[in-house]
């Protein structure tokens, strides 16, 4: 079966994943929702294969849990995790029936292509995969469609920047920083302070208490005669704050979906009007 110029090299590494990518590519203009559905399935298949090697007890977990686990075990880099999460999120929207502009699907297809080379190298260690530049399937000549794609691409660019910013805010280090260098400087400084503190006889925290808290069941901790009530209160406040933050993130994603929906619906209407004008 012929697949595509972008993904046919995958035949030698993971036929099922390659086939899903090829199908997604074929749908990118004609049916963007199906394209995203196939890409989501592709990412899920990739994640399951990788998780079987790394954490088999999570093989039946949902995609988001599998990706988080792969990211924490550093199999996925930050960039790969971002690409896979973007496909997961947009694939979910498509599955739930949100109209999707073609440029959204195209952008995720491009992400899938970036992931494919890395994936093949990961599943077949030592494989020399030379990833060719991504070639978008041929574009439509229709000027109106071109304008629509331009708008869609601008929207995708803006969404990507906003997601990137959200992610940057959450990380301990920014992409521009040299983490190893910072870590080693901080540890050296801390060692210096430690020596000074020992000489000066500075007091230390009660490490045994910390170890006890670490080892205790959370239920027991919440029933603790001295800390139980304040901890329950602290927990309730923190939970409310955490929920508020999660809702903020969800609202942001919902607004992205709405902007895409508006664009896709606008395009559908234009197409319908043009169709009825021709009758």
């Amino acid at each position: 079966m012929t697949m595509s110029r972008n993904f046919d090299f995958m035949e030698n590494y993971d036929r099922r994943v390659g086939r899903l990518a090829g199908q997604a590519e074929r749908y990118v203009y004609s049916d963007p929702e199906s394209c995203l559905f196939k890409l989501r399935l592709m990412v899920e298949t990739m994640a399951r294969t990788l998780i079987e090697l790394q954490a088999p007890h999570l093989v039946d977990a949902d995609l988001s849990t599998m990706l988080r686990s792969l990211e924490r075990s550093q199999i996925l880099t930050r960039a790969h995790a971002d690409q896979m999460h973007a496909i997961r999120r947009d694939g979910n929207s498509a599955v739930h029936g949100d109209p999707t502009p073609g440029p959204t699907a195209m952008r995720r297809l491009h992400d899938a292509h970036r992931l494919s080379g890395w994936y093949c190298r990961t599943v077949k260690r030592g494989a020399k995969v030379k990833l060719q530049a991504f070639e978008p399937p041929e574009r439509i000549a229709d000027q109106k469609k071109k304008d629509y794609w331009k708008k869609g691409e601008a929207l995708e660019e803006s969404i990507e920047q906003q997601r990137q910013r959200t992610r940057e805010a959450l990380m301990l280090f920014s992409d521009k920083e040299n983490v190893d260098k910072i870590a080693s400087t901080l540890v050296d400084e801390l060692k210096g302070w430690d020596e000074l503190a020992i000489e000066a006889g500075e007091p230390m925290i009660d490490a045994e208490f910390v170890a006890l808290v670490m080892a205790m069941d959370i239920e027991k901790l919440l029933e603790h005669p001295r800390f139980g009530v304040p901890s329950k209160e602290a927990h309730a406040i923190a939970e409310a704050q955490y929920d508020a933050f999660r809702h903020e993130l969800e609202a942001k994603e919902a607004s992205f979906r709405e902007q895409r929906r508006q664009l896709a619906i606008g395009e559908q209407r234009t197409g319908e009007q043009a169709g009825s004008g021709n009758e």
Binding site: S174, V187, L190, V210, M214
Partner: protein
Amino acid sequence: MPALDWLHSWTMESEALKSQVQLATIWFLAARTMAVADGNLPKVKETVAGLYARSILELPEEACVAAKNPENISSLRIEDCLASVRSLPRALGEKIMTGVMMIAYANRAMHPLEVRWASMLASAIGLEENDFQRCCVDARVIATMMNPSAEDEIS
């Protein structure tokens, strides 16, 4: 909006953002120091710090991004962090301590340098033993809520 009102509101917003960036800078410095003190930097420590900043410290996205700009943070040292923590209102200082202890719990063990950093912070904030213990317990409770899957991975 008249020009003067606009200028006034812009100045207020800009001042508010400035103090948020300062708090974010203190937090990320304190959190980084705890995160690297044992010589490891697992992903779980890396993502939970930002979640804590955004949800518990209620810092806006732009303050968190600005704080980590190398121009802002790269020249700062541990003593800058301690000096800044000293000048924080007590409640905020305790929140920083709680968050830092939450990061220390990530790998279920405390390295001597982690103990030292916690001690230095507690002393800079001026925490009595009871207050510190309360921060420890709160940290454990919040860690369970923010990071439920980390425990699966450790086991």
